[in-house]
Subunit: 412 residues, 2 copies
């Protein structure tokens, strides 16, 4: 994979020109994307900027995020050829930090369930996960050092786990979702994929002008609470093994590790996540579903058909549960630095018909807390499995530092 | 003015056809809008729907809200001719309730300060207020029974006060802002203008499928806390008189009325509202300001120039104040049913150069609480002055019922 930190260092020292850095990305895309299919389109004439912390860094943008320089087609027939007038604020944040927008990455239709033809770079007969399929795959295949995705259920952390790349779903609204196709305004969160946890942190720090997000060279051993999410069902053996492995190596490296039970209200929040998501989706997709029913992607359409009966009262009750669960989770997080949990039930499922199951991700999206995927082990078939490091709302720096600690411990 | 409740009643009884109801609106627009200039464009061939609670009701949509059937130009040269692909969810909610989208109403450029040429229907040499200038003016002039606006500082309540129309800025996110040009995602709120408080409530109830928002025929006398907002400076004599008048007649009608002091943290929230707004605006308008500087509306551009130095640390501190102030306000609101405060410093200023001052509105936008403007008196020059009735977050039904109580008391 292409390390952002490494590229930054070499560009800063003069060892690598920004043009050469970009050319490296262009060659990788030319060599690999015919097979992987991570890009909807890319600009093979894109040039590097000459200033900014991300100069020479090529970034892929999930195709539900508005770009003035490329169509934004949402992975959906309804938006074929759709050309936004403006760049979304997250795209402008990248440009203003010096990055080059190299292209648009594949997304499941409207970031829901209908899959893309993108292959998992680790094993071409498996899904890369979704909905940020192209962003995870492009970074995993070493085509680009940084990519943006979005998560409403598990659409950043799950593909990151399946493709074996670090990624962050930051605290809710640390990055604005303005100009990003809305699924659920309470849940939608823009996230980043990179070659390492430190790379992801550098990208996020540059985009937000928050240098405190950069992972320090020495990270103190964190107090870790392990959460098995039994309320979400049992994981596959490879998922369970990843969680045990990460906990064990972190402890060996000096972390304090103990298992934590979640309060019942938090389990209840896990259960009502779909109520929030679907009630808001019916409004977000009102035009598409109401006026373009036949052209709707079939899996998303079916999901909306099923959840048609959702009422304001059910939604209000779910939002009340959400608020109480966030408070309860904050209390739990006062006792440890971070939580450690599953990124997915296990390795990526075979085939491309399903992008996998977000059941271990959705609670944390609803809680709005920062989640970092750390690739942990490689299961049969060369398929990676990750774990998630979680901190309290707004403690993105803590989540990144602890994830980097776990990543370093695993590398030893 | 055209009363939605009255139209609904006559349509339901068969006394008025939906086509005739729409024709009434078309005639009023043809007769008046050449002078008032409330519409950017309108569809003079628009037809009524035959079903839904809002059948026969013509609605004007502020031109920062996406419509598939009309361009959406944001009152700004940068978006001239811009045609969104989809209707915003609030537009779809109106259509699904049976309403007819009759046209797009004027907005100050990007819903900021640069004024429109719209005249105040009550006195043509005064501003109708902004930023939802056209929506307030079109309802005030009796052209349409319902209009949508948006508020980030005081852009619904202020023009409603200046034009003498009831309006609601609902609880934050009761109506989604998806497909609405973003100024500040923490603040932006979609609101409604109508001929009476009950009309506004009927419109909001139909859009949200929340029948509990409809004002009951008999409203219990509320406990009212009067808030002078001394932290925002002294009002004009007409503003002060409106607040005293509304409090006095409400008390005479049976309400319990007492003056309430706001906790210091709430005054502090009033002070930091601009920090939140401008920090987010720099991201929301990053593309316009960064890549179309010369074409930016001059007043908004100047405001962004001045607030360029805002830092993430200042923003985080402001958001922390916001959270504490919301909690403190909720505690205050446990002691009364609603608050009563100023909608504006006084009557609409002369001329069209300024849309007036949102200083008595912005705190409540930041608090996310429902605000209802009730026209209270008519000052010199035939210029109306309103007051604002405020309830706790999510208590929109209570705000509407109490506002209706005050409105009825004033009518006696």
């Amino acid at each position: 994979m292409l390390s952002l930190a490494d590229l930054q260092r070499r560009i800063a020292s003069g060892e690598l020109s920004t043009d050469a850095a970009l050319a490296q990305t262009q060659h990788a895309i030319a060599a690999q994307d015919k097979t992987i299919g991570a890009f909807v389109r890319h600009d093979d004439k894109a040039r590097a900027q000459t200033a900014g912390p991300l100069r020479g860094i090529a970034v892929g943008i999930k195709d539900i995020i508005d770009t003035a320089g490329f169509p934004t087609e949402m992975g959906a027939a309804i938006y074929r050829g759709h050309q936004p007038r403006a760049d979304a604020p997250v795209v402008m944040a990248l440009k203003q930090a010096g990055a080059t927008i190299i292209g648009k990455t594949t997304t499941t239709a409207f970031a829901a369930n209908d899959p893309t033809p993108t292959l998992n770079p680790r094993n071409h007969s498996h899904t890369p996960g979704g909905s940020s399929s192209g962003s995870a795959a492009a970074v995993a295949a070493g085509m680009i050092p940084l990519a943006l995705g979005t998560q409403t259920g598990g659409s950043v952390i799950r593909p990151a786990s399946f493709c074996g790349v670090p990624a962050i779903k930051p605290s809710y609204r640390l990055l604005p979702t303005v100009g990003v196709k809305c699924f659920s305004w309470t849940l939608d969160t823009v996230g980043l994929f990179g070659a390492g946890v430190r790379d992801v942190a550098l990208g996020l720090a540059a985009m937000t002008r928050r240098p405190d997000l950069v992972v320090p060279s020495a990270v103190a051993a964190p107090r870790i609470g392990v959460v098995t999410q039994a309320f979400a069902g049992a994981p596959d053996p490879s998922g369970a093994e990843a969680l045990q492995t990460a906990a064990r190596v972190a402890e060996r490296a000096g972390a304090t590790v103990r298992e934590l039970a979640m309060p019942e209200i938090v389990a209840e929040a896990w259960r009502i996540h779909p109520v929030v998501q679907e009630f808001e989706a019916h409004q977000s997709f009102a035009w598409e579903y109401g006026q373009n029913y036949d052209a709707m992607p079939p899996l998303l359409r079916g999901r909306l058909d099923e959840s048609k009966g959702g009422t304001p009262a059910e939604y209000d009750a779910a939002m009340a549960v959400t608020l109480r669960a966030r408070q309860a989770l904050a209390a739990v997080l006062a006792e440890v630095d971070v939580l450690l949990t599953l990124s997915a039930p296990g390795a990526a499922p075979a085939g491309l018909a399903s992008t996998g199951d977000p059941r271990y991700n959705r609670l944390w999206t609803l809680m709005g807390v920062p989640c970092v995927n750390v690739p942990t082990l490689v299961a049969a078939g060369g398929l990676p499995v990750g774990v998630t490091v979680i901190a309290g709302f707004g403690d993105d720096a803590k989540a990144l530092a602890a994830a980097s600690f776990v990543e370093d411990a695993l590398a030893k």
